[in-house]
Symmetry: C2
Subunit: 268 residues, 2 copies
């Protein structure tokens, strides 16, 4: 099974309750990659028999590190409206909450549409060397990342500060896999902490909250196939031990698939 689908495999454990487990291949420095956790919480709602429509907006709060092993997911349907639906999801281990999320699902309607931003200028992914993660973060191997700009600092080199916090990269699942909302959720957290780029070296950092807005519908995701997504992210302010970063993910043909925003704890 594909490593993404493997991680998203949840077993029903009663009404509104699912059981899953961490996988060694998604390990981050502490606990699993935040993007796979976010995708798993979204998947729990997708699996729910009362789910109405597609993902519209998701916010995930990282409460405490997830330990290696099993976890329980509880989904609570707060309300179903005519065109949308509100959920609260919690991930726990041994009765202790590790992650919370709120999700809005809904029906999309035809109507006026427009995109105000263009995708960044970038060489074709085929013309860029796949990136080799500069240290042993296991989950990197589940993605084919090709940095257009703002690659990760080299921990073996001299720290080089950057005036810009922007990273632009091509990314797709490795092995490649068709795009869906769960995969898009994982990719929306693909950008390493912007403070690493600005400071030119690694510092302790961890996301406290991420929000994803799904601009694409399932047809636009299906049209994406298993191709590369072009993503770009930047920060706005670092202060008091927190900074924000905002990301844009474009699909084939320049379709803006999702925007995401997160607030990150750091120590520097």
């Amino acid at each position: 099974m594909h490593p993404l689908d493997n991680a998203l495999e949840l077993e029903s454990a009663g009404d509104d309750s699912w059981r899953g487990r961490t996988l060694p291949e998604w390990a981050n420095m502490v606990g699993p990659f935040g993007g796979i956790t976010a995708a798993t919480l979204l998947r729990a709602v997708e699996l729910h028999p009362q789910r109405h429509g597609q993902p519209i907006a998701l916010t995930v709060n990282y409460v405490a590190p997830i330990a290696d092993g099993e976890f329980e997911l509880v989904t609570r349907l707060v309300k179903t409206n005519r065109s949308n639906q509100h959920w609260i999801v919690e991930l726990s281990q041994d009765g202790e909450v590790k992650t919370t999320a709120t999700a809005v699902f809904g029906l999309r309607r035809e109507g006026w549409s427009d995109t105000e931003i263009e995708w960044p200028q970038a060489q074709a992914p085929e013309d860029i060397e796949p990136s080799v993660p500069p240290f042993g973060v296991v989950w990197f191997d589940n993605f084919d990342m090709r940095f257009v700009d703002g690659g990760m600092p080299d921990p073996a080199g001299e720290p080089t500060e950057s005036a810009s916090s922007t990273t632009t990269l091509w990314v797709r699942n490795k092995p490649s896999r068709p795009m869906d909302f769960a995969a898009l959720t994982a990719v929306s957290d693909i950008f390493y902490p912007r403070v690493f780029l600005r400071r030119g070296h690694f510092v302790p950092a961890g996301t406290v909250s991420i929000s994803v807005y799904f601009h694409a519908d399932d047809e636009q995701l299906a049209a994406q196939g298993d191709g590369f997504v072009l993503g770009t992210a930047r920060a706005h302010r670092y202060s008091g031990g927190y900074f924000d970063q905002s990301a844009r993910l474009f699909g084939r043909g320049g379709t803006l698939l999702a925007t995401s925003h997160q607030f990150v704890y750091f120590k520097a």
Copy 2:
């Protein structure tokens, strides 16, 4: 009492529970102004005896319209870590959930800091006429808004489409009032739906989810006093009946006080 403080006045109704009520002076087209609802949910956590630190990040989901009258707030402390704390808040009326929120509170630490964006070029607020709301939305009267760019379409005039979705304005409470986290939360939702500006006329629209990242600490807010905040907001994509808008709020001297992001339902 100041209209903002009046709205934020909550009465204890047992452990983790508060009672409040809508006020006619904060009325929007349907229910109260979303910004005052967000501020009220934040205030419930601020009032909690177990609250640890200051607001860091807040996400509010608008589940169903709030009716005129009383409401109940329930705060749930999910977890207190060494430096931060996670909350879930719900607003209900007659047992029906109308709004949910997740909030991260925490301690800020000294360290490396930087702001990557500059505040927009703008005339001084004293040189701009205070805006007169073009229709009877009551809550507008609780703010002194001075539009630098991207003012609200005139419903009496011919619809004029705009290529840009950017609004930049000076805003402060009316009557003026010292800035704090609750006031900043309300202001982060001050921007009317960007689709109005693009289309040149009003259409049905309502926020489904808003996230606020608090970049300023309480000292930086206190330094702001009761002065004008310079805010700017724009959209990225409109599709399937939803669009996003992102806002930046700058204080006196160009301090980036908060960034906020929202996803909005619309019909056009």
